[in-house]
Subunit: 324 residues, 2 copies
């Protein structure tokens, strides 16, 4: 594909996107996709937009932009306990977006839709005079009546989180060229967490019928647990020393380049935060694909408190992920 | 609502969008919507984006922008024979987009989602430094295996179209301040066709099990019939004097301000173009909500030919609606 050449709209669809299409896409030559849900399942629908200069840097690799866009949508399905079925892509490219950029973008989609079992159902392409604007709508399904909700937390539940927290916000700082006092390999790992999050789909499925409330960590652990609290009419306490940190985040913490308040406020981790009845155990790591850590509990009241050693409260910071 | 005030993201959702939410939206406080399809039906999914400065003028009334965005999506459902169930909205507003603009935008959605029975299922709000970028994903359903397709036209079928053709492209010229040699009331009517198309949902439903191929006229009658031809491996002939025109379009034609080639090339009419077996009659106007006109036939070969008096071929123009 030439770096400068620009195919027409229909040729771009045929060249780059038709190979990604599911049978439900009807060859991308119809007005809409048609999907038969699995009997006994309900449809789960979510949409997320990424804008150049806001959600990604204009010079980020196009394949990583595509993969992150798909993954943040799949993460919402994971938080509902749904399994992916497919996705729609609405893209507005600039007149300078060449075919080579789009080819790499489509390569990223191809890799991830195979990995996660979510092929292309359809979409729309448009032009813009502004930054690139990309929207994916992800379609999944979950056993009828079994979707995980934010509103089901109960006082006495224990709060769990998957993986490690705060890597993505540190990765964003790496992307901006900040020194975190850590070795290059660690910085690269943090950057990867920022650019290429992993939707916890297997964990979400394993939590169906087991977890009370669930959410994915997109706004930041404290903010997202706050969403559970608000929807459930409860409060929560997080034990700071229980928050699971990666070796790289621990190193940055040890170097004095971050603190736990930043890590629990940072967005984009795309781990799952969920509550279980007291004493219940999370799904096996083998089944869920990721380890989970008990970090606190649901209490009466409202809001999230972060507690340090001896129960001393640590002030929470507002997340940076409020768009207005 | 203050003209200058700007609520936060969550407050905007609660104030302007929560009142639009369907039960499937789970109060807009979860990660995704959950929808149970009607037994025996399949899900139909489509997405369309509108960008400020490309698909609408930045100073267009926000309620009309909202309604057109929803309607062009519903038109795709109509073309598949589907009935609407709901929609997702992904919006990227600028930092200058005040609450008053968004309040009017939401008023437009409220009016149309009631009119067409398609409530809000969920969405996403983001910020952009560029033009406003708006994407709706419409969700509908159709009897399993019965979706209308572009690919089912057969040689010998007759080609039909609903309503009148070319009004929207003339309305766009009115919007640009061009004089079309017609009275003001006619110009206002054409502008309304451009700004507020009507998705032919009742007609689409009535065509299920009756039409062979169908499409909605978004790229222009000739181009969209061309899509049917390409998908079906056939050609088509349109009789120029059969193309249904509004009195306003006839007046502009009589004033020498347009020609039939422009009218069949113009996009945004959102009528349905469909084929029926020869001799079959379209649904009653009363049932379909709109009159239909037989304009030509499907022939062997490829491509669309526009035929004038005595079978003389009239050169087709490329549609202006190619985004790249």
């Amino acid at each position: 594909v030439s770096e400068t050449k620009s195919l027409g709209e229909f040729e771009r669809i045929a060249t780059f996107f038709a190979p990604l299409a599911a049978p439900e896409a009807l060859g991308l030559t119809d007005d809409a996709a048609v999907m038969a849900p699995t009997p006994g399942f309900e449809i789960v629908l979510t949409t997320d937009t990424m804008i150049g200069g806001v959600h990604f840097f204009p010079d980020d690799p196009p394949d990583l932009i595509a993969r992150k866009l798909l993954r943040v949508n799949l993460s919402d399905l994971a938080a509902m306990g749904a399994r992916p079925r497919g996705y729609l892509l609405a893209s507005a490219w600039t007149r300078d977006t060449g075919d080579a950029w789009i080819a790499r973008f489509a390569e990223g989609l191809a890799a991830d839709q195979k990995l996660f079992g979510a092929p292309l159902f359809g979409g729309d392409t448009a032009a813009t005079d502004g930054p690139i604007a990309l929207t994916i709508t992800a379609i999944g399904e979950v056993e009828a009546g079994k979707a995980l909700r934010r509103s089901a937390a109960q006082v006495g539940d224990e709060v769990w989180v998957s993986g490690t927290i705060g890597d993505a916000v540190l990765g964003l700082r790496v992307r901006k060229g900040e020194a975190l006092g850590i070795v290059d390999a660690s910085a690269t790992g943090l950057l990867a967490r920022h650019q290429l999050p992993t939707p916890r789909l297997a964990l979400g499925r394993a939590l169906v019928g087991r977890a009370r409330a669930a959410i994915d960590v997109s706004d930041g652990l404290a903010a997202d647990l706050g969403h559970i609290c608000e929807a459930s009419g409860v409060g929560a306490e997080i034990m700071a020393d229980r928050v699971p940190l990666s070796p790289a985040a621990r190193a940055a913490l040890g170097a004095g380049k971050t603190d736990v308040a930043e890590l629990v406020a940072g967005g984009d981790d795309y781990e799952l935060c969920f509550t279980l009845p007291a004493g219940a155990t999370p799904p096996d790591t083998a089944a869920a694909g990721i380890a989970c850590t008990k970090i606190g509990r649901i209490v009466a009241g409202a809001g999230v408190r972060l507690l340090g050693t001896g129960g001393r409260e640590i002030a929470l910071r507002r997340t940076g992920f409020r768009h207005f």
